[in-house]
């Protein structure tokens, strides 16, 4: 009873709080995000902006001391994941939603061979035909350019970083999940390996007809593979739209600043500038008003008091008071 379609995902008004010594603080504040079926969506943002928290929420797997305190995550064929509990939730994980972990380097049990862990996975999801599962795994690994038989017989420490990451992807897909979440799939890999993994992600996505979510802090990575891109800052999605559009003509001042801060191989060095100030942490996110205002070149009075609501501009969603005002619509020339 596996779905053979790419599910759509609708995240609405999602709020996640972490319990800290000074009380519960929101890591996600009313996040809304839609993943169109069959697309690759990227989430970018700086460290601590809530990317992983959002990714985990898709599996209702926010770890204590955090909890989802409001909102919903509707996944086609599963319903509202936030409401799922117990065995239903467990079965959804792995079977309907595959997750490739942030630190895939260490996402395998060091004491068991990959094959044994694959069998554990199969048994946990009541797969009747385990030999078939092994065959499928070998095929997937082979598809990603690995010797399936050898990899299944290996322990984690016998595999290189890139190989581990591919094993992670295999484990996320082997039960035929059609929604795949990849959290920082290439962090800690070097350039060449990263390029290989990204290529594999794209190919597998296409071949299997998946809905894919990639979380990364590297805009380059997102730009390389995604169809649509969401930019997060301080627990909010500040801009979301087709990747080419968001990168080509960023509207939110943060997105703009971020792109300008990326060191690039070509172009004028002098054009690049760092954003002033520093990214917020859980404790320094302002309680009211726009979270970005401290670093914003377009700061206005209203920003201090009112948190801008995301507004749709065509295919784009932007949460900024300054966007939509004619004066500020002008996009910097060099990026057009």
């Amino acid at each position: 009873m596996t779905e053979s379609f790419a599910p759509g995902v609708r995240v609405q008004d999602l709020t996640v709080v972490y319990r800290t010594p000074v009380g519960e603080l929101p890591a996600l504040a009313g996040v809304g995000l839609t993943l169109a079926p069959g697309t690759i969506t990227g989430i970018v943002g700086e460290s601590g902006s809530g990317k992983s928290t959002l990714a985990l929420s898709l599996l209702n797997a926010v770890q204590p001391p955090g909890r989802i305190s409001g909102g919903s995550v509707e996944i086609d064929g599963l319903g509202d994941v936030v409401r799922l509990t117990g065995d239903d939730l467990r079965r959804a994980r792995g079977r309907q939603v595959g997750y490739v972990f942030q630190a895939a380097q260490n996402s395998l049990n060091p004491l068991k061979t990959v094959g044994k862990q694959l069998l554990d996975l199969g048994r946990s999801h009541d797969v009747a035909d385990l030999p078939a599962l092994l065959r499928e795994a070998r095929a997937l690994l082979g598809r990603m350019g690995l010797d399936g038989g050898r990899v299944l017989d290996s322990y984690q420490h016998e595999l290189s970083g890139g190989m581990r990451q591919r094993v992670g992807i295999m484990l996320a897909l082997v039960l035929n999940a059609h929604l795949v979440v990849l959290d920082e799939p290439t962090t800690a890999l070097d350039m060449i390996t990263q390029a290989t993994i990204l290529r594999i992600v794209k190919e597998v996505h296409r071949e299997r007809g998946l809905t894919t979510l990639i979380v990364t802090h590297d805009i380059g990575v997102a730009a390389e593979v995604t169809d649509s891109l969401a930019v997060m800052y301080g627990g909010r999605v500040v801009e979301h739209g087709p990747t080419m559009d968001v990168l080509g003509s960023p509207r939110h001042p943060y997105t703009r600043g971020l792109i300008r801060a990326i060191p690039r191989l070509s172009g004028d060095i002098g054009e690049a500038t760092a954003l002033p100030g520093r990214p917020p942490t859980l404790g320094t996110i302002p309680a009211e008003g726009c979270v970005f205002r401290e670093r914003c070149p377009l700061r206005m009075a209203v920003c201090d008091t009112v948190d801008p609501a995301p507004a749709a501009y065509g295919e784009r969603t932007v949460a900024c008071h300054a966007v939509g005002r004619p004066v500020n619509l002008a996009v910097r020339k060099e990026y057009v």
């Binding site: 985990l56 599996l59 797997a61 770890q63 204590p64 001391p65 467990r90 079965r91 959804a92 994980r93 792995g94 079977r95 997750y99 972990f101 942030q102 630190a103 895939a104 380097q105 260490n106 996402s107 395998l108 049990n109 060091p110 004491l111 068991k112 862990q117 554990d120 996975l121 048994r123 946990s124 999801h125 322990y155 984690q156 420490h157 016998e158 992670g168 484990l171 996320a172």
Partner: protein
């Protein structure tokens, strides 16, 4: 394979050197213990109600067993004996070899030590997992604190309390000795039941005194493993709780096995209080008695055996780790 042998020989060489040093130190200390075994025996007999003449006769025999010669000669003689596997003759039980005495005592130490360690290990590990999982709750706190507390309470205190409870207040278990002599030794129900009954209190005391330590060790080990990414990854793959539990438990227990091996070694010498309180005829009691009787050879022999046990446990712990951890077994850093 060559390296295995090389490593093992290295271990052995170091172990033997260690044993030699400890033996030498203990030899020097033991030979300098004040107290004349002959006079001690004599007065002891008198105190036990024997007439002076009879006591004199009984102790006269001891003279023949006293070591003679200069300290150096005694030392070389002793070492020479050791090399030939001869631990010497006991003074307090003349005519009996130290090896025989130690052999019979070691038998009795192994039983409660193994039983007690395994029991406390199982108990502590189980509760430790629980304490780690519930660590932010009141129960976890309570378990952790009671673990530290129990870990802290000395064996003799627990031994005393256990004796008071199970032999006086509520006399359901024998107060001492290894086994009831009424039963024919061998593989028969009555004998084994008696054996178990007698071992129960020492084992219980040991288990109670040490399971707190296991709780703490396991708790911190589980906490580390719980923080490891692969556990969250496994959870996100939707693995069953039982599988997940096995992942946690196996990884958390691994570092504890080496501690287990080490503590088994230490225990051979550490059971003194328990064996004294329960009159359990193991190595600890043998050592205490041999000190009381100034039985130099026996003291030295017991000391040696205890030291060897520790050294062997150290080597075993090291090898064990290499065998059970694939990261070490198949070479390569994790």
């Amino acid at each position: 394979m060559n390296t295995v042998i090389r490593r093992l020989t290295g271990h052995l060489a170091r172990g033997i050197a260690m044993i030699w040093v400890v033996t030498t130190i203990s030899f020097v200390i033991i030979r300098n213990i004040p107290g004349d075994p002959v006079r001690g025996q004599y007065e002891k007999l008198i105190e036990q109600g024997m007439g002076p003449d009879q006591a004199e006769r009984a102790t006269a025999a001891l003279y023949g067993f006293l070591p003679t010669g200069s300290l150096w000669d005694q030392y070389t003689g002793y070492l020479n004996g050791l090399i030939h596997g001869d631990l010497g003759q006991s003074l307090s039980t003349p005519g009996t070899g130290v090896a025989t005495l130690i052999g019979s005592a070691a038998k009795w130490t192994v039983l409660p030590v193994l039983g007690g360690t395994l029991l406390s290990f199982l108990l502590g590990v189980t509760l430790g997992v629980y304490a780690a999982i519930k660590r932010s709750g009141k129960l976890g706190d309570a378990l952790a604190i009671s673990g530290s507390l129990l870990h802290g309470v000395p064996q003799y205190v627990i031994g005393l309390l256990v004796t008071a409870i199970f032999t006086t207040l509520w006399p359901i278990l024998p107060a001492g000795g290894p086994v009831d002599i009424s039963f024919e030794p061998g593989f028969n129900a009555a004998y084994i039941v008696s054996l178990v009954q007698h071992a129960t209190l020492p084992v219980l005391t040991y288990a109670l005194a040490s399971y707190g330590g296991w709780i703490l060790a396991m708790k911190s080990s589980v906490a580390t493993v719980l923080g490891d990414d692969f556990i969250l990854a496994a959870e996100l793959r939707g693995l069953k709780r039982s599988v997940l539990f096995r992942y946690i438990a196996r990884n958390a227990i691994l570092p504890l096995f080496t501690i287990l091996a080490l503590s088994l070694g230490m225990l051979f010498g550490g059971a003194i209080f328990i064996e004294t309180i329960f009159n359990y005829p193991g190595l600890g009691l043998l050592l205490v008695n041999s000190i009381g009787a100034r039985d130099y050879a026996l003291m030295g022999g017991t000391f040696l055996v205890i030291t060897v046990a520790i050294v062997v446990a150290n080597i075993a712990a090291d090898l064990l780790y290499a065998v059970i951890d694939p990261r070490v077994r198949t070479g390569g850093a994790a």
